[in-house]
């Protein structure tokens, strides 16, 4: 049984019914497959939902890697492009995501649904940060640099949340939000602003 097929059928069920299928058995019957065939791919609906989020991410990355222009971009530009493409991908599934959001409130509050996506995203961001080190876009800082990934994850959740609430024409406010958020984050981790802030904090703390 193809995983993609199950994911699509699951999304369709949500779109048409606005809720989960009552059981895996019922879902399989409707799909015309044996329940055991389902378990070959997924063990539960939760696993399907997680995989759907992951597939949004993976489809985006796949598309990016085909693009030669993307490969020549700087770390900051790569991340920008990722967000723009990711949001495009999400747009194809907007109804499903909004339904999920209504049922589970905002995705960030139910982070378990995003868990596999988060792990893949962390790997991707680590690559970007490494690239940023080599071409001096990002400054390596003891202890703190390890936390960058978490910051970018928060940023991704911010973009996701902003986009779910965006009602502007062609979601252009999301574009603006992405541009501003990424610029800000890269300015923070590249220049000395952040160092000065830490330095000041350390000074105040030790003086006491």
């Amino acid at each position: 049984m193809d995983k993609q097929l199950i994911r699509d059928a699951y999304k369709t069920f949500w779109l048409e019914n606005g809720k989960r299928p009552v059981s895996i058995f019922a879902f399989c019957q409707q799909l015309g497959i044996a329940e055991t065939a389902f378990y070959d791919s997924y063990s539960s609906f939760d696993a399907v939902e997680k995989d759907i989020w992951l597939s949004f991410f993976q489809d985006t990355i796949e598309k990016l890697q085909e693009d030669e222009i993307y490969r020549n971009y700087s770390a900051q530009e790569k991340l920008l492009t990722f967000y723009f493409m990711w949001v495009q991908k999400l747009k194809e599934n907007r109804s499903y995501i909004l339904l999920q959001k209504e049922n589970y409130r905002i995705p960030g509050i139910h982070p378990d649904k995003l868990e596999t996506f988060r792990i893949a995203f962390y790997d991707y961001i680590r690559e970007i940060i490494k690239e940023g080190y080599t071409n001096n876009e990002i400054k390596e800082r003891k202890f703190i640099s390890d936390q960058y990934v978490h910051g970018f994850w928060m940023q991704a959740l911010f973009v996701l949340r902003y986009w779910t609430k965006d009602d502007s024409n062609q979601f252009e406010m999301t574009d603006a939000a992405i541009e501003k958020a990424v610029n800000l984050s890269f300015q923070l981790i590249s220049t000395n602003t952040f160092d000065s802030l830490v330095d000041f904090g350390k000074f105040m703390f030790t003086r006491k």
């Binding site: 900051q76 920008l80 723009f84 062609q170 252009e172 574009d175 603006a176 501003k180």
Partner: protein, 440 residues
């Protein structure tokens, strides 16, 4: 307050930028007065320069409509201390650029393809910044093209930006809030129109065709199939912006030629088309050494209502002006004086306006005019300075001047200031005071 729910982060961020500027401007004043304590001879020039710098930085970070307001303020040279004008004039050329990925994203979203697929060659680095967008250079069909791309979210932020800018504008221009409301409505409408690139494309094509017969003007061709609501593709025009052009020491003959072309362009639009390219800031004109001038950016178009047109240009007519009753009627029609004004106020303001109008319309009444005559402009600036400092004017609680006069005046201000920088000596007089005009 409704807009707040739409773009909360944007607005807070924008507002906080202005707070920072406010603080900086405050510090500048503090610095100024401290220095002044130590050295009483110090002038306010440095203070104004500091303030202008900080305000400019804020506005250029905000881009969009705030930058547009900066441009408008910088047009009316006489209303601002010189340092403000110089710094704001820069906003006509440069603002921080958009990232490459966002440019590509805009293409993919609105035209379905990346710019690298659409054009033979596309420069991802912007060649120029426009107030609500930026211009890229590209090649296709063996010729260079100019691609104008709009910043995302500009239309959404127009309203909130204007609301934030307003207190600053009131400060800088010294106008009261009631006046501002009326004019801000007009500005808001025009700004929203400017964000509509489809409308701009249509108007550009129409107006370029209608004005094509005027000598020494060059209009680009536009390519609707490569344009969308956020992108306009047109021919790349060579030439220089006003300041760079003047650095090349063009001959008097060339400067006259360009000045004449611009004058004819505006006169034709105002008097014949009654629709005018109301954005005559130097960034919209490219001047060349052979005396021709390239014109683009028809984003800001003012349609001049018939009754406003008649009243406005009747003021140039010496015969009409002699007639006290007629004159008052015109002033009332143009909302320069109001039925609620006292006799004293009417006399006071009529005199002010008439003096101003006499000065500003002087070129219309002569056959030719030398815009290189600095004493003429100095006299205007001095008088406007005098007027804006009059207690009666500052205390006036009502708006004076119709909302239509805003963009029409701005157009003439812009034109005059370009002609003055060009020091052009040109044939004026068209077609005011001709029989055709009186029949209107």
């Amino acid at each position: 307050m409704k807009e707040q729910t739409n773009i909360p982060t944007g607005k807070v961020e924008r507002a906080s930028r202005f707070v920072t500027t406010g603080l900086k401007v405050g510090t500048n004043y503090l610095k100024h007065y401290t220095k002044k304590l130590l050295d009483p001879s110090i002038s306010k020039d440095e203070l104004h320069a500091d303030n202008a710098e900080d305000i400019y930085d804020t506005l250029s970070n905000l881009k969009g409509s705030a930058l547009k307001v900066a441009q408008m303020l910088s047009m009316d040279k006489g209303l601002l201390p010189k340092a403000y004008t110089d710094k704001f004039a820069m906003s006509q050329y440069s603002a921080p650029p958009l990232s490459g990925p966002l440019v590509v994203n805009t293409f993919v979203k609105t035209l379905g393809k990346s710019p690298f697929e659409l054009y033979d060659k596309f420069e991802i680095k912007a060649a120029n910044a426009a107030s609500i967008g930026q211009v890229h250079r590209a090649w296709k069909w063996g010729k260079p093209l100019a691609i104008k791309i709009q910043y995302p979210g500009v239309a959404n932020s127009v309203k909130s930006d204007l609301r934030i800018v307003k207190p600053f504008a009131i400060r800088i221009v010294g106008m009261n809030e009631v006046d501002m409301d009326k004019y801000f409505d007009e500005i808001e409408g025009k700004l929203l129109e400017e964000t509509d690139y489809k409308l701009e494309l249509r108007r550009s094509v129409e107006l370029s065709a209608l004005c094509a017969h005027i000598p020494n003007l060059v209009f680009p061709s536009y390519y609707p199939e490569l344009s969308s609501e956020r992108i306009i593709t047109m021919d790349w025009l060579d030439g220089f912006h006003l300041k760079e052009f003047l650095l090349r020491n063009p001959s008097q003959e060339v400067r006259n030629k360009i000045g004449q072309a611009l004058w004819d362009f505006y006169q034709f639009q105002v008097h014949t088309l009654k629709t005018v390219h109301a954005d005559p800031h130097p960034g919209n004109f490219l001047m060349r050494d052979n005396g021709t001038v390239g014109i683009f950016d028809f984003g800001c178009i003012k349609e001049i209502p018939e009754d406003f047109y008649i009243n406005y240009f009747l003021l140039v007519d010496k015969e009409v002006i002699r007639d006290e009753v007629k004159r008052r009627q015109i002033y009332t029609n143009l909302e320069m004086i109001h039925p609620t004004d006292t006799e004293k106020e009417i006399t006071f303001f009529s005199e002010l306006f008439q003096k101003m109008i006499d000065m500003l319309t002087l070129p219309f009444t002569l056959d030719s005019f030398d815009f290189g005559d600095e004493s003429y402009f100095n006299e205007i600036y001095a008088y406007m300075d005098y007027v804006s400092n009059l207690k009666e004017v500052r205390d006036s609680k009502v708006a004076r001047g119709s909302r239509h006069s805003l963009y029409v005046n701005r157009t003439y201000f812009g034109l005059y200031s370009i002609l003055s920088d060009l020091k052009a000596n040109i044939k004026t007089g068209y077609p005011v005071n001709t029989p055709a005009f009186h029949q209107q």
